[in-house]
Symmetry: C2
Subunit: 428 residues, 2 copies
């Protein structure tokens, strides 16, 4: 954990280093991933079978390629009622938020008589990657699957590794609740390749979303353009802006809720009170040993944690925009004042009673958000990631008579005579 | 040019081959591009200087790195009045269409008292690549720059190669009209690298758009995730659906207006009348020798052109969706009937009086569109490519009391105790 103070002479250099630190793993998996993609493209199911046996240690022919949807429904029915209620509340709230995101078609006819507009439609099929192991979160299934279904995607295909054939029943329950249409026991770059290229067994999809390890992320990056993808995701982060009126224990828990995700997660506190900063740091140390996730959370906090002292909370705005954090918590009075000035953040949690964890599960907005300063240009997952816009234009004879001469002039200037001819022919 | 008939026994195989034909160049430039990106990242301006001397044959120190904005204004003033009027009409119409695209912020407070919504904002800076040579189109400058300015981008940076120091005055005039803020005499992968990483002279941008050759496209693809990009673009295409009531000369001009762009462009006619198909093919042959672009247009038409005969125009719908064409012209009576059934197309031109060329220049909708079947999942360029959405959430004590227990249950199920602690602390 590092401590910075905007009034220190080396602040700019140290803050710049914090901004530039990408926390990405050094492993360059691009060649290995390219080889897997090429193999799945060429050999299809045989390659998937072989790679699954090698990486996940199970035989797809023996365990079955797909998880039956009935098994997903059974997992949902078998849930503890409190947990099922929580999942259903989350699904309902996420659905409501994303329904409000659905874009409206547009159409207008201008003064010249040109009719034009745009029409939105869903992709035919989407793929959803769900990691195994530490990051096998049912909340992630809901957050990725529900926007697809709200967008109107007809076929939603889940891929998840099942090392040794084992699968997380919570993930299956969430898949049932979200209306996933197919569940395959396949993981890694080979799962992403199968989704993009299709195989004899697996029909291809048009868009692929969902979190994954470095191999999955690189596979999505390489296939971007052949299919749509949600975003290149890196390690996750939270930036908490807190004044001294906060309970240090609350803020410590917020910082560690990010840190416990992964050793490469980052938690940053900005405050205008050095004494409060000390008390939060003490609270973090008190809370850490109580967590079953202590090892991960401590590694993250000690390696990437940061506490930034500012003279005035208003000074945080410029720093926030430089970091463009995935999650921004504004635990201050009148958080709207700061929020109105911030330009770059993935999702903002306003006030003292809105811990990020509420948004992770069931606030409503999506928890799939741009990481690693990508909030400068990218947005959280939404129904738009599963839709596309078709623009349209319609001229009648009078409209083209009005616009035609200008189009002909421009075509001439660009040296495109057939463009000009196609317009000129219609001028009677 | 190939001719297909849906009633032929080999139709499905031949149509599938048409769908799968990606028409991409075989050249794999990914390693060369990666090397250029790495060099510009490490060496900055020195690498840009060297690569520009090598590839574009001019010395940036001698010609000047930037084109003065005064020079752009002078190019605009020097335009032939008819051409200037055409460019201004185009700019006005494109601006009006894209203003209507600006997304609305949203905010709601639900029954539980949770306040949530989303706020849109523009990226700080965007880069616009403008090719030199054959594809140096002023219309392309307008189509890429205007959405950025309408989105509210503060700094719009144009990069264009100036082989031998020469620059197209029409491109400069369009830059002036569109409000471009900086114009650099740099092209190729090195220009894209300089935009993404920044150099001592060139401040980095957040999003990069604009057409380019294979090197530029690959550079954008490799930098996707570090910056936003518009889309991976491939060769361009048009699909014209026409009944026998059309003038064959009109339809031939439409087909060739696509073909004349590039030898890898594709023009496809679908019709229900074999005799009409013959007459269009004859008209193409009549028109070709009259074009200054004959060589390119003929290469495209002979290599990639296709005429598909269908029994009924309604049969085109499934074929259109499989091709997901960049441009779709519906030159039929009541084009709305077909349009309502089509799911995948970049931009649609309705009726007999709407040649694609009108949309290329000044209909209003953007002419930067998804190619190579990407209309299955991607949209044309819009203000959204220069904006991002920040979601927000606000609970008060009562709201978190309502939602907290479910969040705690889910955090427990996911094995994330600090998530649970951050919520539990706020339940009084």
């Amino acid at each position: 954990m590092i401590r910075l103070d905007t009034r220190d002479s080396d602040f700019e250099a140290r803050f710049a280093a914090l901004v530039d630190d990408r926390r990405d793993s050094d492993a360059d998996v691009s060649r290995d991933v390219a080889a897997i993609l090429a193999r799945v493209r060429a050999e299809g199911d045989a390659a998937v079978t072989d790679l699954t046996a090698r990486f996940d240690g199970h035989d797809l022919e023996a365990t079955g390629w797909q998880v039956d949807l009935g098994e997903c429904q059974a997992a949902l029915k078998a849930l503890d009622p409190e947990l099922r209620g929580a999942l259903e509340l989350a699904a309902d709230r996420i659905t409501a938020y994303h329904k409000a995101q659905r874009p409206a078609d547009s159409e207008t006819t201008d003064a010249v008589g040109v009719r034009m507009g745009a029409r939105w439609s869903a992709v035919d099929a989407a793929g959803l990657y769900v990691p195994g192991g530490r990051a096998a979160y049912p909340s992630s299934v809901l957050m990725n699957a529900i926007p697809a279904k709200v967008a109107g995607v007809g076929r939603l295909v889940m891929m998840t590794p099942t090392p040794g054939g084992e699968i997380n029943p919570l993930v299956l329950a969430a898949a049932a609740l979200a209306g996933v249409d197919e569940v395959w026991r396949i993981g890694g770059a080979q799962a992403v390749a199968a989704l993009a290229y299709g195989t004899d067994r697996i029909a291809p999809v048009d868009a692929i979303v969902g979190p994954g390890n470095a191999w999955v992320a690189e596979a999505k990056r390489q296939l971007y353009g052949r299919v749509g993808i949600d975003m290149v995701a890196g390690p996750s982060e939270i930036l908490v802006v807190a004044d001294s009126e906060n309970d240090p224990d609350w803020i410590a828990a917020d910082l560690l809720s990010q840190a416990e995700h992964d050793p490469t997660s980052q938690s940053i506190l900005m405050t205008d009170d050095a004494n409060f900063a000390d008390r939060v740091i003490e609270a973090v140390e008190r809370l850490l040993p109580t967590l079953a996730t202590e090892k991960v959370a401590r590694a993250s906090w000690e390696t990437y944690g940061a506490v930034v002292l500012v003279a005035d909370l208003g000074d945080t705005v410029g720093l926030i925009d430089r970091l463009a954090p995935e999650h921004l918590e504004l635990a201050v009075n009148e958080p709207e004042i700061l929020f109105a000035r911030v330009r770059h953040a993935g999702s903002v949690f306003l006030g003292r009673h809105t811990p990020e964890a509420i948004g992770d599960y069931l606030g409503g907005p999506n928890h799939v958000l741009p990481t690693g300063r990508r909030a400068r240009f990218a947005s959280g997952l939404s129904v738009l990631d599963f839709m596309k816009r078709t623009s349209f234009l319609q001229c009648d004879a009078a409209a083209i008579a009005h616009l035609g001469p200008a189009a002909i002039a421009l075509a001439g200037a660009e040296g495109l005579p057939a463009h000009a001819a196609s317009v000129r022919a219609r001028l009677s």
